[in-house]
Structure formats: structure tokens, C-alpha cells
């Protein structure tokens, strides 16, 4: 018992240490003591991708709904932030072909209000879409949500008086500190984790595992599917809003369905049904896509120019790495497990070649 208590204490203090270390790294990055804008941009992007991916994992990995509508919901959040946070005096210059609709032209909202509004609008649209679409299953659901995501994008392309159409909106006020992206990411992820561990989360998982049995247990399938779908859309909208502010510009072309595939890739890579896996996946994919850029630059070995090193080659490498991952780690990095001290200790024990202890106590999840 003593040993067990000691171990718990050690784990707890290690967790606290990791949190402190994480916070200090962000503080150092934020005050520009370490790192450069490039690193900060990648980390911000990683945090935003984490929000969207975890919310997509809630829908796809935990509730078992194969939904591919994430890009559309992000577009809603992104355009809400763009339309309402650009300073009123700049708007005439941005909407120089078609003037902005007078209904919204003079409304300027604080960033967080616009961000939440974007999330709520995305959730509202998702409920309207979900009513008919969530009666479908698997592939059919994927096709329908993908279609709706494209419809949202096309509507935005054509709502010129509000969204400025294909020209998009630029000069969106930027994010002053990394704490906004990371803060929102942490709060969102904590919310989703709490949701997953609540009785709602259990109902979601039951629906994923076997909808007929879940229904026989008295779980209202439709209600829970809509709830999960709407919460997923809400956080996608939040992620979209943050992205708009981070990039400073939005246009509908950013929200092609290919964007959804990035998130799908992240959750498959991280592990369907694992929050920690998804977070790891988000940062690995964002950073990976950037740092593989060395393959995009011309390479000369011993005076010979290697012809395959040219723009776009990194995607070949990236795809190749993905194929390896899918072949050898079919469950993704984490599968359905969550990162925990038990797991980390397990790795060390295996590495040292010590036999694993028979009984492992639960808890100690980071």
C-alpha cells in the first residue's frame, strides 16, 4: 500500500511538473524569449487543429458517426469572426466591389463574442442539417455531410454582400497572444473530455458500439446523435474562428472538403476514440507538414541536382509515411486508449525488459 501511495504521489507531482513546464514554455514563446514567429505560428495552428480534431473525434470516434462536414462548420465560425471583428472603418476598402449589407456593415463585436457566436451559428446549422442527415448511417452519412459542407462553402461564395464572395475578407485583427489559442484549446478539450466521461459520453459510445442494443437500453439515438453532432460543429466553428483570426484572412476556397481530410487524417493517425491521441496527432501533422518542407527545396549532392526534390515532394513523403503508419499501426498512435502514467510506465518496463506486473491500478490519467 505504501509503495502504491508513493507511486501515486510521484505521478501527481510529475503531472504538475509537466503542466508547469508546458505553461513556462508557452510563456517563454509568448514573450518572444525563445522561438520565432514560425514556431509560434505552427504551435498556434496545432492548437486550433487540436480543437477541431478533438471535436471531430467526438462525432466520428466516440459517437461513431462518419461525418465529413467539419470544413463547412469551420467556415461558418471563420466568417462570423471575419465579418464581425474587422473594424468598421476598414470595411469599405475590403468590400470594394459589392458594398457590405448595411445590416452587418456597422456591427463590430469583441473577438470572443464573435467567436462564441460563430460556434453557436455552426451548431445551429448542424442541427438543421442533422435533422434529416443523421437518419443515415456510415458511408451515406459521410456523403451527405460532405455535400452539406460544400453547400455551405458555395453559399458563402455567393453571399457577396456579407462575406465578400470569392475575394474573401482580410485585415481580420490578429491573435495577440498564444494564450488565446491554447486557452481556448484547453478549455474546449477539457469540456469534451468531461462530456465523454459523463453519462452522455457513455451513451455516445454505446451508439458507436451497437445502436440496436443502445436503443434497447433506452438511449434515444436521434437525440444523442444530434447533440454530439451539434457539439462537434460548435467546436469546429470555434476552431474556424480562431483560424480566421490567426491567418488574418478568410476566403471560401480555404474550406474545401480537402480541409476536412486533414482532420480525418489527424484522428485516424492519433486514434479514433482517443483524445490524447488526437492532440498528439494534431501537432504531429501540423508540424510534420511544415518541417517536411526541406523536401520541397532543391537538393544538390556532390554537384548533382537530385530532380525529385522540388515543390510538392514533401506531400509524397508525407503520404508515404502515412501509408507506413496505416499498415503497421492500424489503430493509430493511441488506438482507443488515453495517455496515462500506467501506459508510460509500461513503455519503460518493456524497454528495460522487466516483466510486467500482473495487476495495474487504474487512474493517474493525465
Amino acid at each position: 500500500m505504501m509503495i502504491n501511495n508513493n507511486r501515486k504521489l510521484m505521478r501527481r507531482s510529475l503531472t504538475v511538473l509537466i503542466i508547469i513546464a508546458f505553461a513556462s514554455i508557452i510563456i517563454l514563446l509568448d514573450t518572444k524569449t525563445i522561438g520565432d514567429n514560425y514556431v509560434r505560428r505552427i504551435l498556434n495552428l496545432g492548437a486550433i487543429y487540436a480543437i477541431v480534431s478533438v471535436s471531430m473525434n467526438l462525432v466520428n470516434g466516440f459517437t461513431g458517426l462518419f461525418s465529413l462536414g467539419q470544413a463547412g462548420f469551420m467556415a461558418i465560425g471563420a466568417f462570423t469572426v471575419a465579418v464581425f471583428t474587422v473594424p468598421v472603418e476598414l470595411r469599405e476598402a475590403i468590400f470594394y466591389i459589392v458594398p457590405q449589407n448595411p445590416l452587418v456593415a456597422n456591427i463590430e463585436l469583441p473577438f470572443f463574442v464573435a467567436l462564441i457566436l460563430g460556434g453557436l451559428l455552426a451548431a445551429l446549422v448542424s442541427i438543421l442539417i442533422g435533422m434529416p442527415v443523421l437518419r443515415l448511417k456510415s458511408d451515406y452519412l459521410a456523403i451527405a455531410t460532405l455535400g452539406f459542407s460544400e453547400i455551405i462553402r458555395i453559399i458563402f461564395t455567393n453571399m457577396k454582400t456579407i462575406t465578400n464572395g470569392a475575394l474573401g475578407i482580410n485585415r481580420i485583427p490578429g491573435i495577440p497572444t498564444m494564450w488565446i489559442t491554447f486557452g481556448v484549446a484547453i478549455v474546449s478539450i477539457i469540456f469534451i473530455v468531461l462530456l465523454i466521461n459523463s453519462s452522455y459520453g457513455r451513451a455516445f459510445k454505446a451508439i458507436r458500439e451497437d445502436d440496436i442494443a443502445a436503443e434497447a437500453m433506452g438511449i434515444n439515438l436521434f437525440k444523442h446523435k444530434v447533440i454530439s453532432f451539434a457539439i462537434g460543429a460548435f467546436f469546429a466553428g470555434i476552431g474556424g474562428g480562431l483560424l480566421a483570426s490567426l491567418l488574418g484572412t478568410v476566403d471560401p476556397k480555404q474550406f474545401y472538403f480537402t480541409m476536412t481530410y486533414n482532420f480525418l487524417l489527424i484522428i485516424v493517425l492519433g486514434g479514433m476514440g482517443s483524445v490524447s491521441g488526437t492532440i498528439i496527432g494534431s501537432f504531429v501533422v501540423t508540424a510534420g507538414l511544415e518541417y517536411l518542407r526541406i523536401f520541397d527545396e532543391p537538393l544538390t549532392v556532390l554537384g548533382v541536382n537530385i530532380p525529385i526534390f522540388r515543390a510538392g515532394f514533401r506531400m509524397v513523403i508525407f503520404s508515404f509515411l502515412l501509408m507506413i503508419l496505416v499498415l503497421f499501426f492500424r489503430q493509430g498512435i493511441m488506438g482507443q486508449k488515453e495517455l496515462s502514467w500506467d501506459m508510460i510506465e509500461g513503455w519503460f518496463k518493456r524497454r528495460k525488459g522487466l516483466p510486467k506486473k500482473g495487476k495495474v491500478d487504474k487512474g493517474g490519467t493525465i
Partner: protein, 235 residues
């Protein structure tokens, strides 16, 4: 407790249950036997609201539940142990049980203890994924999960399906034990011999209609049933 009058169920244009009537008295074991496609599972599914009856009335504790949603019916005290167990494979045994208590607001911990006392094997495997349990353990879990909602009436759809004879005996002992603790049981079985032995009342369903009914012991002796389901007379 449960009264069914002239129940008709259609799947599209096909009629699966054609005007059956049956009674399940309180604290009894009633069994519904019949061949494949006789309409046994459909009857259970329509009682719990998973399929809607096209005609007839289902009455539970004096209340008409024919058109209620499954959620409501489960709250009233009826649960279904679905055919083929249908446990949630990638969730732990404990999580499976908690989902069974989804509509319960309180008393979940006592319920879990009650189920674990009934099935000590499940307590040992509390953290294990349900998909890794053996067939018999999965059936225990399916029954335990159904008990989590504190049902007054528990309906079991072929609990012996695909299990070894020894384990089937165990399952039937458990059914008797659950009944002894005061829960009414409506049992569907292909294993007519075993089911009729423990049943107070038996109904024989053939292509959607009830052809024979009577106390379990009597049905065991019935020549028609012996011929059709027990297979004892030919020897």
C-alpha cells in the same frame, strides 16, 4: 402484468406477427417457443417499442404502452436482453453495466454491486473489454446490463444461443435466480425443453400466430410439441 391483445406487426408489406394475444403474470416465467421466423423476436421488439405494432394493444401494469417510445418503456420497467448478446465490445464490463443504468438517476452503485454478486465472474473482469469475454460471460454481461435498469419485466431473446450445454445450464439457473428475486421474465427460446421446464406458462408461436398455449409442464407432455420441438417421439 403484461397483456398483449391481438398484436399485429408488419415489416413493409410482410406480416411477421398476426394477431397474437398473451399474458405475462407478475413474478412468473413465461416462455415463447417456436421455429426460426415464427415472430418471437418481433414480438419482443414490439413490446419494447423498437418496432411499432400496426394493430393491437400492449398493456403493461394497466397502462397502454403500444405507442410509447423505447426510452419511456424502459423507464416503465421493461428491458430487453437482445438476441446474440450485443454487448458493447470496446467498452469495459463496468461501462457496459453503467450504460444499462442509463435512465437511472440514483442507486447505480448498489445495482452494480447486486449484478456483481449475481455474477462474481463479471466483478473479476470489471476492467476488461466486453469483446474479450467468452460467450457465456458476454451473456452474463448482457443479462447484468439489462438488470441495471431495475426492470420489473426482463425479456430475454434466446439467451442460450451459441453457448456450450454446460453454460446453457448455468444461464437457466441464473434466470431462475433472477425470477426468485422478484423479476418477471419473458423468455424466448429455441431450446424448448429447457425453457418449458422452468416456465410457468408457455406459448408456441408458428408463422406469426399462437398455436398452443398452456402451463410449461403440460406443454412438455404435449404430443404436438414433442413432435415439433422436443424431437423425442421419433426415437
Amino acid at each position: 402484468m403484461l397483456k398483449i391483445r391481438n398484436l399485429n406487426v408488419h415489416y413493409g408489406g410482410i406480416s411477421a406477427v398476426k394477431g397474437i394475444s398473451l399474458d405475462v403474470p407478475e413474478k412468473s416465467i413465461v416462455t415463447l417457443i417456436g421455429a426460426n421466423g415464427a415472430g418471437k423476436s418481433t414480438t419482443l421488439r414490439s413490446i419494447v417499442g423498437l418496432v411499432k405494432a400496426s394493430e393491437g394493444e400492449i398493456n403493461f401494469l394497466g397502462e397502454n404502452i403500444t405507442d410509447m417510445e423505447t426510452t419511456e418503456i424502459v423507464t416503465k420497467g421493461i428491458t430487453l436482453v437482445p438476441e446474440g448478446r450485443r454487448v458493447f465490445d470496446n467498452l469495459s464490463v463496468l461501462e457496459n453495466l453503467k450504460i444499462g443504468a442509463y435512465l437511472q438517476k440514483e442507486g447505480i452503485d448498489e445495482n452494480i454491486k447486486m449484478v456483481y454478486d449475481l455474477f462474481p465472474r463479471l466483478r473479476e473482469r470489471s476492467w476488461q473489454f466486453a469483446g474479450t469475454l467468452s460467450g457465456g460471460e458476454q451473456q452474463m454481461l448482457a443479462v447484468g446490463r439489462a438488470l441495471m435498469s431495475k426492470p420489473k419485466l426482463i425479456m430475454m431473446d434466446e439467451p442460450s444461443l451459441g453457448l456450450a450445454p454446460l453454460i446453457v445450464n448455468g444461464i437457466f439457473d441464473i434466470i431462475k435466480e433472477i425470477n426468485k428475486q422478484g423479476t418477471t421474465i419473458l423468455l424466448i427460446e429455441q431450446n424448448a425443453n429447457k425453457a418449458l421446464k422452468i416456465a410457468d406458462m408457455g406459448y408456441v408461436l408458428e408463422t406469426g400466430t399462437i398455436t398452443i398455449e398452456g402451463p410449461g409442464k403440460e406443454l412438455l407432455m404435449d404430443q404436438r410439441i414433442k413432435d415439433a420441438y422436443l424431437g423425442t417421439s421419433k426415437k
